[in-house]
Amino acid sequence: MSILQALDIGLAVLVLAVAAWTIFAREAFAAVVAFVAYGLLLSLVWVRLFAVDVALTEAAIGSGVTGVLLIGAAGRLRQAKKSAASEQPSKPLRVWAFVLCVLVTLALAVVVLSLPDPAPTLAPEAAQNLAGTGLGNPITGVLLAFRSFDTMLEKVVLVLAVVGVWSLASDRYWGGAPGTSRSAEPEGTRALLAQLLPPLGILIGVHIVWVGADEPGGAFQGGAILAAMWMITMMARLTEMPPISSVWLRLALISGPAVFVAIGVAGIAMAGGFFAYPAGFAKPLILFIEGFMTLSIAVTLPILVGGPPQRLPRR
């Protein structure tokens, strides 16, 4: 057994141990902390699968932004009443659930072990058509050219999630800002971090979007890092969540899907098909869309973490 294999097996055991902890831990907070560690380990697994784009997404969204969301929620729920004993599932139910889950796992494991060889793949098709887009990163090609319709709908899902979260606001807070007031003085340590980190973070975020055309990276990953930078200035009380009635905020939220749809519709006239790019203009158009998508993601993620408005609107 080579060292790399030993490393893989160790990593697998570790991922499963931490995952089991998130399920079986007695305290909710311990489970959430374990989930953050789990996201980090998962991005190592993705690197071992040579899926660096996915590893970047998992690191930024799966571990970073989701971690802040869940830790915040677990902290606010600390005072919640413990669930009643009657809610605990009975022992037979747990046994049945256990048997069911073992069966599901075994079935999936059998499927994994009996996958066809050679594996079916779309890589040759992607490689063949990639030249037409002018891109070097096949994943960006799939996201923004070959399956752009999926990506556009996924941006719409993000907007719908924002609508869903905002709709949970009390009537009196409608039009106000999410989060509690940041009236307290910015505190030194955090303020320092929030002043030093964003300049470098914005540089790295933009770099990741820019190289995404040819190397691992892209609008999702870079946008998530930019979102994290905005979040850290809010966590240090240097900036506040904007009120949800703010026009620029709403424009930024929909700019990604709106530009995407507009260019898709323009494709009918210009290139003879919905979401078709005119020959020779594919790469500039894709970069144009990616720019607005990055903006949308960078604004949407913190808004989703911020939750529904909780302050009275200014009148």
């Binding site: 790399l4 570790l14 971690g67 802040v68």
Partner: protein, 95 residues
């Protein structure tokens, strides 16, 4: 050299992981956050070592991204879970 880098990566990941699995049990939530922090640094380090050993492109960006977000869990923890008394959440009194 490759084997050396990989063994170092494995060794670091596992010392850190042993710490994590042991510390997740508590005593305090602060210890749990510290253990996650150590796993983060250890994970980034092994990522850099494995990336150099196997030559997968773009892994340095993953390490950079993880390093940028390293402080997030701890700050969210201090903001929300470590405060002695949670806010009563009455937004109306804020302003």
């Amino acid at each position: 050299m490759t084997d050396f880098l990989l063994s170092s990566a494995g060794f670091i990941l596992f010392t850190v992981a042993v710490g994590l699995v042991r510390i997740l049990g508590g005593p305090t939530n602060a210890d749990r956050v510290m253990a996650t922090q150590l796993l983060g640094t250890g994970g980034i380090t092994s990522l850099l070592l494995v990336a150099t050993a196997t030559g997968v492109r773009g892994v340095d960006d993953v390490a950079l991204g993880l390093a940028l977000l390293a402080a997030f869990a701890a700050i969210a923890f201090v903001d929300n879970a470590a405060a002695p008394e949670p806010d009563d959440g009455e937004g109306a009194n804020d302003r």
